[in-house]
């Protein structure tokens, strides 16, 4: 088994075997192998956006599913995310040059009092992988920093993350402040984090609660599409 793996030469694999192999390598958090796979596909003339979606995002989607189903725990997700990040590091400058689709823009941050960031980082990365521009405010974000970023960045979406029961109510403070200033409806507000649920998202006036990064991407796309449709009608 292990010997076979040692002998595997990625460059010898045809595309249809290399891509699933990259999914496996991503699953196993093998950063160097993932980077090598990206280089090989680019050298074979793949569009950077195709490498991103078919090799990296598709692989990370499998990781996300197995995390949700309790098959993987946090370290596996973190290793896979680090490997994907390394692969994306190669692709990012090329994506800008080659004109990958632009889905919209998101400002995201972990709320005040909370410094958990693994889930938020994963959401940011998967949103980028889906063609969104992401401005990450980091951790311990207070209402002034959120609102300041909305003003300067003019995003379509505001994303807030909380992993602590004590910090999740802060999301409501941000949303209420947006409402007071009359800007609540200018943005799509998505919230997430393990202790939240749909009911909480509704209660604080968010547009949606998203269980994981894949749902975040789907939800963001759906809201953006709706926004465009409304713009056409109006």
């Amino acid at each position: 088994m292990a010997e076979d793996e040692d002998e595997l030469i990625l460059a010898d694999l045809p595309d249809e075997e290399l891509v699933p192999q990259m999914h496996d390598d991503l699953y196993d958090g093998l950063r160097d192998e993932v980077v090598e796979g990206v280089e090989i596909l680019l050298a074979r003339g793949w569009e950077p956006y195709r490498v991103l979606t078919e090799a990296l995002v598709a692989g990370m989607t499998i990781v996300g599913k197995d995390f949700r189903d309790g098959i993987l725990f946090v370290p596996e997700v973190l290793l896979a995310a680090n490997a994907m990040k390394a692969g994306m590091g190669l692709l990012k400058p090329l994506l800008a040059e080659t004109g990958a689709p632009k889905m919209g823009k998101m400002v995201i941050g972990t709320v005040k009092g909370d410094i958990h960031d693994i889930g938020k980082n994963l959401v940011s990365m998967m949103m980028e992988g889906a063609g969104f521009e992401v401005v990450d405010l980091g951790i311990n974000t207070d209402v002034d920093r959120y609102l300041g970023a909305l003003e300067t960045e003019q995003p379509d979406i505001l994303g807030m993350s909380a992993l602590l029961t004590t910090t999740m109510p802060y999301m409501k403070i941000v949303i209420d402040t947006m409402a007071e200033r009359g800007i609540r409806d200018d943005y799509i507000v998505l919230v997430g984090g393990a202790p939240l649920n749909e009911e909480f998202g509704r209660a604080i006036g968010a547009d949606a609660y998203c269980r994981d990064a894949a749902v975040a991407v789907e939800t963001a796309k759906a809201f953006i599409a709706r926004k465009h449709n409304q713009a056409v009608v109006a």
Binding site: G29, P75, I115
Partner: protein
Amino acid sequence: MIPSGDHALTETGLAPSGKGRVLVIGCGALAHEILALKRANGWDHLDLACLPAIWHNHPERIEPGIRAAVAQHRADYRTILVAYADCGTGGGLARLCAELDVEMIAGPHCYAFFDGLDAFAARAGDELTAFYLTDFLARQFDAFVWRPLGLDRHPELVASYFGNYDRLIHLAQTDDPALDAAARACAARLGLAHERRVTGYGDLARFLAPRA
């Protein structure tokens, strides 16, 4: 002493002895402390059942676990007390305990109720970048932190997890030099400064004390 030991408390929990009028259903991470309080105060009316402490890392298992344990033991006791803080259930455990009509200790997690809820909340702003250990976690650091976070296999991940932290605060329930040394070693492994605050049993003692 606890016959089943720390490993069993972590993975499987502890079955009640069947003696006493009041059953405490608690997190395995609190078993030592609850039994110490019971011994010290002669609270013979208390019996203890513990659920696996490792659910700390999987809070979604806590509500179903409590529901099942209450159903299993309800008929055998006059009163059931739930020695679990919210523990990341997002208020779900409090709603469940209200539904089952059993009393639960107040607070977000055990760090807060050992320290005392008000004291903990007052310090929260200054201690944002602190990582807390209780006596149980100092003893069980490998089983709760190091191994579940994969640091045994990938020590390089310490920066991804703890890059935003600057110190470890040992909230000590007891004055035990061995645990003090263990907590200092944990801080060193995480690359964090070490602090120690003796909290005693905090709100847990008040919660378990007989009510008028």
